[in-house]
Amino acid sequence: MDRTVNDKMRHMNITKAGYHGILLPDLNIGFDYSGTGTQHTFISHAHADHMPRSQSSSVYCTPNTYKLMKRRGFNGEAITLDFGEPLETDEARITLYPAGHILGSAMVFVESDEGSVLYTGDYRTPPSPASEGFEIPEQADHFITEATFGLPIYKWDSHDKLSQEVRDFASQTLANDYTPVFLAYNLGKAQEVMHMLAPLGHPVQIHGAGYKMCDVYEQAGIDLGNYDSYNRETCEGNILITTTSAINNGFASNVSKKRIAYCSGWATREASRTQLTAHKLIPLSDHLDFFELIRLCQELDPEMVHITHTPNADVVRHYLDQRDINSTFLDMEVEEDD
């Protein structure tokens, strides 16, 4: 009952900043925000659609995210915050929690007189083994969550099963004298696939854009196995890792005997087989699935779930309504195919 009384006095202002970023204007806080009108901007992780677009921004992020952003061309300044190490501002206390999405990915927890907010950025639970794990505060008044895979057609197999699928595809392809190629986003997914393949001990070549991220992972203690940068002349017979865009632009086009596996949550869609001329679809996502999302909302039981990053907010809201959880849709953003 206390909470209801408090509700009437407290008000948390949450707004969408155009197509990129979310603001808590009263607390002077921005999440994955590219503008300059806020004092404290937090970057959840180093994927392009979350990184600051302006080079001169000054932002807060985890040390690993900062390293990865620099590898991807960010020249601005960042103040690094470790997980669980709170930042106190005049208006609030902010703590980063590991998001399980990619290395360095963080959720931002804000506590203030107006209540608390948990902003997820992109996240995955159970977490990617090539990340710092997943941890969540016990309670949050406002839960700002992505819902990239916000439909019940999306349900992931266990990590062990997917991991076995990845290794089996590689081994069987090599045994048939073909070169296996994994299509995986160059930051996060690529390294997770390498981590899965490491026990095979077979040499891996990864596309240059992903290669330059790898040592950050190794410094974080994640085993990426025996790998090198992609070399067109020597790639045949290695396990290859590249992106969907590179495979259409001549990557390993000199190797005629190759088999392609597409690793993405979108690989659930049968149509991606022909679109990408993939032999194998492995629905390995760095986001949580629909059922995990609904379960998490139930566990957290916030006053309000604010949904973002999905064309299917209505479906998520329908499920939350059935569970008596208040929800709202924070405008829309188009997700990069990662």
Partner: protein
């Protein structure tokens, strides 16, 4: 095990997951050759190659997408509108959505207890669905069957039931090749047997038992139609080897006639006799020998061939009323003869077949197309203009020395057509391409304006989907621009801010009550991307309605002089 439906579903799935056509054929051939009983081989080949029923049986399970989709939503205990539909949109396929939901949703898993149903049992189920009349009865059958199936079985059960493509990159043609490989026979012989028996299942059994030579052409089993190629792709040098006929604005059909029996088949090989009782009567009155005719059904009234749009009022009607028959009387105009003197004659040359057809036409007073020798391109143009003046679609050029190439689209028949018209439309949605066009948005939904139309609340509504007519350069530029205009993403589809205007060319406008606009365009394609125009310049639904009406009302040249067809009455 070889008689279980689960194995057929797994084989289909394995074919789907294999890229090379030869490997797909081998997987299917291995499956066929492991099947023990003839009856099961017949069923398996039938299901993979044609669907629940043979195309010539005239039988259908008649379970619409809404019927099985709402049934699946209920089975999974999810809301059809709020949950099922977005899932279907994201995957672009109801049956794929059902497979995933059956897999993912716990209550659905609890209801299902896979029972390894046999092919025979599945065949019976399709028969039950055919006999059941109401939606509720059909849904009851679906529910009971699904309870005993795995998700992958359910997916293929639905795809086979709807007689559509299995969407595994493996069409009837490949199934025929797999039959040949399984039983070590020449593909051409198997294809011939399939063509004249009209049944993949029977062909497989003949093949297995070394009885291919016993395949015989049977009247009342329609033959796949010979098709024409557009002339622009096939420049004609040897014009004197061709004859010309007007291309009718009607419906292609095949007539099988024997004694007191007359049946008509559509291009999709469906039996359509009941829609056109006067054609049946017309043939019966003429005391004809056993025949198979290829020709066109047209609305013909007061010496005029009337447009296809009016013929549509007769199509798909099980029992047309007397009033409708009087208002839109139809005539079957023949242009080819495939069976004569009690044997198939598709291996005769066109000239020879024509000779026999002319003879029949004179003896029995059958309307046949007028055929013209062509001398040069000017002559072709002249004939083309006259065909259009008759209200016809254009001209057909047919090679005199060609055989009847059933089921094929080659250079022996060429069509010369004129675009029906153009519209300035707005780009509403972009769809991800597949195959060669993978990685690009290559298919586009185009809309027309209904902003000032009191019947609609939207600004634009779709009028057609186009996936050609642009250059690679234009497609790339379009893809660049689309990035900035995207406001929504539904799986492979992008919703766009209406800004890009496309000049769309099409062959014809047809009424289609199932679309929001009530009209669809035939063969819409890009004519130009109008970077110079904006959303305000888009044509309106009223423009479409006007164009449709003009086409119906236009003056037509009577059939008295230079007629399109000859009819010795």
């Amino acid at each position: 095990m070889s008689d279980k439906f689960q194995q057929l579903a797994e084989t289909a799935q394995q074919i789907n997951e294999t890229r090379s056509t030869n490997s797909k054929i081998t997987i299917c051939a291995d499956y066929f050759s492991a099947i023990g009983k003839d009856e099961d081989l017949n069923r398996a080949a039938q299901f993979l190659g044609e669907g629940a029923f043979s195309s010539v049986s005239g039988k259908r399970a008649s379970v619409g997408s809404r019927t099985y989709s709402t049934c699946a939503a209920e089975f999974c205990e999810i809301d059809y509108e709020k949950v099922f539909k977005p899932c279907k949109t994201a995957l672009g396929s109801s049956s794929e959505a059902i497979e995933q939901l059956m897999n993912n949703i716990e209550v659905a898993c609890q209801k299902r207890e896979p029972a390894q149903l046999s092919l025979e049992k599945i065949e019976e189920t399709y028969q039950q669905l055919y006999r059941a009349s109401g939606r509720a009865d059909k849904q009851e059958i679906l529910r009971e069957t699904w309870k005993q199936m795995t998700p992958v079985e359910i997916k293929y059960f639905i795809r086979i039931m709807t007689q559509g493509s299995l969407r595994i990159g493996f069409e009837t043609r490949s199934v025929v090749s797999a039959i040949a490989e399984a039983f070590d026979k020449e593909v051409d012989d198997v294809r011939y047997a399939h063509m004249i028996t009209g049944s993949v299942g029977r062909t497989a059994v003949l093949c297995k038992n070394d009885n291919l030579d016993k395949a015989s052409f049977n009247l009342f089993h329609p033959l796949s139609f010979m098709l024409a190629s557009p002339i622009e792709n096939r420049a004609v040098e040897d014009l004197d080897e061709y004859v010309a006929e007007e291309k009718f604005d009607g419906m292609r059909a095949q007539a099988h006639i024997s004694g007191q029996q007359v049946e008509l088949y559509s291009r999709e090989l469906n039996e359509i006799t009941h829609s056109f009782p006067e054609i049946q009567q017309f043939f019966l009155k003429r005391d004809l020998p056993n025949l198979v005719l290829d020709g066109e059904i047209c609305v013909y009234k007061e010496d005029e061939i009337l447009p296809f749009q009016l013929l549509q009022k007769r199509m798909g009607r099980k029992k047309p009323s007397k009033e409708i028959i009087e208002k839109y009387p139809v005539l079957f105009v023949s242009y080819d003869l495939l069976y004569h003197d009690d044997r198939p004659i598709f291996d005769h040359t066109l000239s020879k077949r024509r000779e026999l057809l002319v003879e029949l036409s004179q003896q029995h007073s059958l309307p046949i197309t007028n055929q013209f020798e062509v001398s040069d391109h000017d002559h072709v143009d002249e004939l083309f203009e006259r065909a259009l003046a008759h209200g016809n679609e254009g001209l057909m050029l047919k090679k005199k020395g060609s055989t009847y190439e059933y089921g094929q689209r080659r250079k022996s028949w060429l069509k010369v057509k004129k675009p029906g018209g153009t519209l300035d439309t707005i780009l509403m949605y972009a769809h991800a391409g597949s195959g060669k066009r993978g990685g690009y948005y290559s298919d586009f939904t185009l809309g027309i304006s209904v902003k000032e139309d009191e019947r609609y609340e939207e600004e634009f509504i779709p009028i057609g989907k186009a996936y050609g007519g642009y250059t690679d350069e234009e497609m790339k530029r379009l893809n660049e621009r689309i990035k900035d205009l995207t406001v929504e993403k539904y799986g492979p589809t992008l919703g766009l801010i209406p800004e890009i205007v496309i000049e769309l060319e099409f062959d014809d406008i047809q009424v289609n009550k199932r679309t929001k606009a009530n009209y669809t365009l035939r063969l819409p394609r890009f004519k130009a991307i109008r970077w110079d125009l904006g959303p305000k310049d888009t044509d309106t639904l009223k423009d479409v309605e006007r164009m449709y009406q003009e086409k119906i009302d236009r003056d037509r040249l009577k059939q008295k002089e230079n007629p399109s067809f000859v009819f010795h009455q």
